[in-house]
């Protein structure tokens, strides 16, 4: 709203002037102008701020672990197929042995692997959960029908809900609408996905559901309709 109210007194001491008339104060400058006070809470660690540590003169397994943690902190899996290139390991480095040594080290108990169709995907549970790694691995495997089918089953088991098709156009899937539509057609043709069904809501949104006793089609349709409507019974846009 133009012309707001409740404007706090300017820290520069100007009074009675509105936001649009007043010189904008830089917050950092203002904070730096204040006297320091002791912070009784400064020792409380903030998990997201902890850096993935690399020891001095790291061994290959240590370098590999640090790399995996760095990737996880950035919400990325670490793919086995690029370890050599990413870490500039020369031909003398036995990648499999390096991985084995890394995993055997108790200090790396947080590092896990998901074996996908295209790669082995490593992640550090200190920064990335198993469920997110599962989704990320499905995305990297680039088998969109399988990713969708697996997630539909996972969502019914975990959340007892059908899955909106357009969920897969969002982060971290980021598939296009056309990719999702084509993948649904493909997955419904695959015999192994005979347990997956679709319903379409009144506002033409497709939901996929895991067609089992706990989630019959009628319930899936009702829950999908529910998800598409606001508290006033009108469809969300």
């Amino acid at each position: 709203m133009e012309g707001g109210c409740c404007v706090q007194q300017s820290p520069l001491g100007e009074e009675g002037r509105f936001m649009d008339e007043r010189k904008r104060v830089d917050l950092k400058e203002y904070l730096e102008s204040l006297e320091d006070v002791a912070d009784p809470f400064e020792d409380i660690p903030v998990p997201a701020d902890r850096e993935a540590e690399t020891p001095e003169n790291p061994t290959e397994p240590e370098r590999l672990a640090a790399y995996i943690r760095m990737r996880s902190k950035g919400a990325q899996l670490a793919c086995r197929s690029v370890f050599a290139a990413e870490l500039a390991f020369d031909d003398t480095v036995d990648i499999d042995q390096t991985i084995a040594d890394m995993m055997a080290d108790q200090a790396n108990a947080d590092i896990r692997v998901r074996k996908g169709k295209r790669n082995d995907y490593y992640y550090a549970t200190e920064f990335m959960t198993d469920n997110f790694a599962m989704i990320a691995a499905l995305v990297l495997d680039k088998d969109i029908p399988r990713a969708i089918a697996d997630m539909v089953r996972f969502n019914e088991k975990t959340y007892h809900l059908p899955t909106p098709a357009m969920k897969f156009t969002k982060y971290p899937y980021n598939y296009t609408k056309v990719q999702v539509e084509q993948a649904i057609v493909a997955l419904l043709r695959q015999p192994e996905n005979g347990d997956i069904g679709t319903v379409v809501t009144g506002n033409k949104k497709t939901y996929l559901f895991h067609n089992i006793e706990a989630m019959p089609e009628r319930l899936a349709k009702a829950l999908a309709e529910d998800s598409e409507k606001d508290e006033f019974g009108k469809y969300w846009q």
Partner: protein, 699 residues
């Protein structure tokens, strides 16, 4: 005095008397709603019309507001209803900064009494309180009023004001403060009936806290471990790398990588990931525009506003420049139903600049107009009523032909955003018969002869025959939702229960955690798999009621509170329901626990019940006030109650639900009226005696 500011300000606009009273007289009612109920019960005959000079309007806050407790920027306004059946007691509530301003000025409540003989506003400058001339402001919208009074009094003053709707005694009217924060229930018109345009308040004091170190520890603990997003939703909508779970359906934690506020100063700001423990990222979790309007909102969002002491920031500020070409305001801020205004456009809306932006555009125009003119829609009562009346040809029947002809229906039919402002203008300025939409559903239905075809149509959302809509009811929480919806004299505003059952966490986790609190069977596997009533569901319903009474008295935001869950996997996603009590202990320097909090909540609930009985003039609440509309039992005609796919209620099960709820509340099972024993248990013997004198005491 710790927590409380210490004074209640009383202003009589008939006599000009301004005096203060010690809050100690009211500490047993906590604050906010509790103080409001006590004052009105004691001082206003309950058959007084809301606009009578003898009525009072109580702005109240509680001991936690202004202390730094997160999400405590709330003000409760208590009044006698001008629009619902029984014309009983109810509350409006607003966020923003007014509650803090009041406390820092030294007041726990402000009581408006009498009526001025000319337009005035109340100026509170700490302990300097004056009645000022408002003849220049009378007739202005709320935005211009805030600006005008702000320029007169100073930028540090927080202005709570009414618009033309309040001045014209439109029942569905509001009090606005802090840009888009509004209190409804008709409080705008009560203020207008007193010729009071605004309260302008500056507070330079502080609120004393008994144990500030403990308070700081609790705040830190709450922000790092407990608080989630809006409505305390504990999981993000999109998967985030730190999060074990994410929501499959729409929820209120919408911040995610790739979702940026498009009009932020300096360029778009991506909301990124917001891991639990990182207190600097809490404000990026909610991104409310995404929930209310969808992704289309992002390029038009300037920032996320919020109330004092709140890290959640659930009020997006939208700007849509093209509206200037139509002579309409380009900027608005609101949340939830405040933006959902397509129900004023029965034929639908169209795209403007991008696909799907229609609801946002009409939402911006309509919500800005509503707030500025001071019209309150209820929980979409007004727009649902419009939609129903238009669809059923009511306007053609009841409007004089010449009035019908001159209304620009084509704007509505074409999805022209000017319609939202036009509807608002007509209601606020009481133009013609059409404006009786603003009387409120009960009086409108009476005036226009709307019968069961209206009340019992599920599309009106009416929960009872008292004249207001359901709010997170059977559609979200089954029988528990309907039980708590029957307790109030307006839409219930209970969020605790639905925030628990529908937030994105796996059902298994919700059930596991909830059974530890309410017992086995407290919630159903989904919203469309209702099972018969049980004791645990009744406990869950009662908890919803008590949470709301507490938060409207303490005053805390009853969207985000209570802290029933947490985004922390290490905690098993368990919240901390003792946190209210822990804050009370730290702030007041007294020993509080959850039981004590609940005792006071229940006391205030009993007061509400007593006042409602007196207003209705009968003890038979069961067949009167609490009678729910037929559609609860007749919806989804192809399905039976308890079948998968519907939340249709079963009549016998509903009667049993009432039996069990009444018993849990200490009310007579046959009537739903509190017994003497119950009232005396909550130190309300004076109310029991009063009921007995009136012949309204059961047992």
């Amino acid at each position: 005095m710790f927590g409380w500011a210490g004074k209640i300000l009383r202003v009589n606009f008939s006599t000009g008397e301004i005096r203060t009273q010690d809050t100690s007289d009211y500490k047993e009612y906590i604050g906010g709603m509790g103080i409001g109920y006590k004052i009105i019960y004691d001082e206003v005959p309950l058959d007084t019309h809301a606009y009578d000079p003898a009525s009072k309007l109580v702005f109240g806050v509680g001991p936690l507001t202004g202390t730094g407790v997160p999400c405590s920027g709330r003000t409760n306004i208590t009044l006698l209803s001008p629009w619902t059946r029984g014309f009983s007691i109810l509350d409006g509530h607003m966020g923003g900064h007014f509650g803090h301003a009041m406390k820092y000025a030294g007041y726990d409540a402000i009581v408006l009494e009498g009526v001025s003989d000319k337009p005035v506003y109340l100026k509170i400058d700490d302990d300097k309180v004056t009645i000022e001339d408002a003849s220049e402001e009378w007739g202005l919208g709320t935005e211009a009023t805030m600006t005008a009074i702000g320029k007169k009094d100073g930028a540090e003053f927080c202005v709570a004001c009414i618009g033309p709707a309040g001045e014209n005694l439109v029942n569905m009217s509001l009090v606005a403060c802090s840009s888009g924060n509004v209190a409804g229930g008709g409080c705008g018109a009560v203020m207008g009936s007193k010729m009071v345009k605004a309260i302008s308040c500056r507070g330079t004091g502080t609120v004393k806290v008994a144990d500030p170190v403990k308070l700081k520890e609790l705040v830190d603990y709450q922000l790092r471990e407990i608080i989630g997003a809006n409505n305390n939703h504990p999981v993000p909508n999109e998967p985030q790398s730190w999060a074990e779970y994410s929501a499959t359906s729409r929820n209120r934690w919408q911040g995610a990588p790739g979702r940026a506020i498009g009009l932020a100063e300096g360029g778009p700001i991506d909301s990124g990931e917001q891991p639990v423990g990182d207190i600097n990222k809490i404000a990026w979790r909610t991104m409310k525009g995404l929930y209310d309007v969808g992704e289309v909102s992002l390029p038009y969002t300037v920032r996320n506003e919020g109330c004092s002491s709140c890290p959640i920031r659930c009020y997006p500020v939208y700007r849509y420049e093209k509206l200037a070409e139509m002579g309409l305001a380009t900027t608005a801020t609101n949340t939830c139903g405040g933006m959902a205004k397509t129900k004023f456009f029965t034929n639908g809306v169209h795209d403007f600049e991008v696909e799907g932006d229609g609801p946002m555009v009409v939402g911006i125009v309509t919500t800005q107009a509503l707030d500025d003119y001071g019209v309150w829609t209820g929980y979409s009562d007004l727009d649902l009523d419009f939609d129903w009346c238009y669809t059923h040809g009511i306007f053609e029947k009841v409007l004089p032909p010449e009035e019908y002809a001159e209304i620009p229906w084509n704007w509505m039919e074409e999805g022209d955003p000017r319609w939202g402002k036009e509807v608002t203008r007509r209601i606020a300025l009481k133009i013609g018969e059409f404006s009786h939409l603003g009387d409120g559903s009960y009086l409108m239905a009476e005036r226009w002869g709307l019968g069961s075809e209206y009340w019992d149509d599920p599309s009106t959302n009416k929960v009872t025959y008292n004249g207001y809509t359901k709010h997170h009811s059977t559609d979200q929480v089954g029988q528990a939702g309907l039980l708590y919806n029957t307790v109030y004299n307006r839409d219930c505003m209970v969020h605790a229960s639905s925030s628990y059952t529908r937030n994105g966490l796996p059902v298994e986790v919700l059930i596991r955690n909830g059974e530890e609190i309410w017992g086995e069977g407290f919630m159903d596997a989904s919203t469309k798999e209702i099972t018969p009533i049980n004791e645990s569901k009744v406990r869950f319903a009662k908890w919803g009621v008590l949470s709301k009474q507490w938060h409207d008295s303490a005053t805390l935001c009853n969207w985000v509170w209570p802290m029933s869950l947490s985004p922390s996997k290490e905690r098993g996603y368990r919240g901390d329901l003792e946190l209210d009590a822990k804050y009370m202990s730290a702030v007041l320097g007294e020993e509080w626990d959850g039981e004590k909090v609940d005792w006071y909540s229940e006391k205030i609930t009993q007061m509400l019940r007593v006042i409602t009985i007196i207003s209705f003039g009968t003890t038979d609440m069961r067949n009167g006030h609490d009678k729910v509309t037929e559609w609860h039992f007749t919806m989804d005609p192809d399905l039976k109650p308890f079948e998968k796919g519907t939340y249709k209620m079963d009549r016998e099960d509903w009667e049993k639900s009432l039996d069990m709820f009444y018993e849990a509340m200490g009310w007579d099972v046959a009537t739903g009226a509190p017994t003497r024993a119950t009232l005396e248990k909550f130190d309300l013997k004076f109310m029991a005696d009063d009921l007995e004198k009136r012949g309204l005491l059961v047992g």
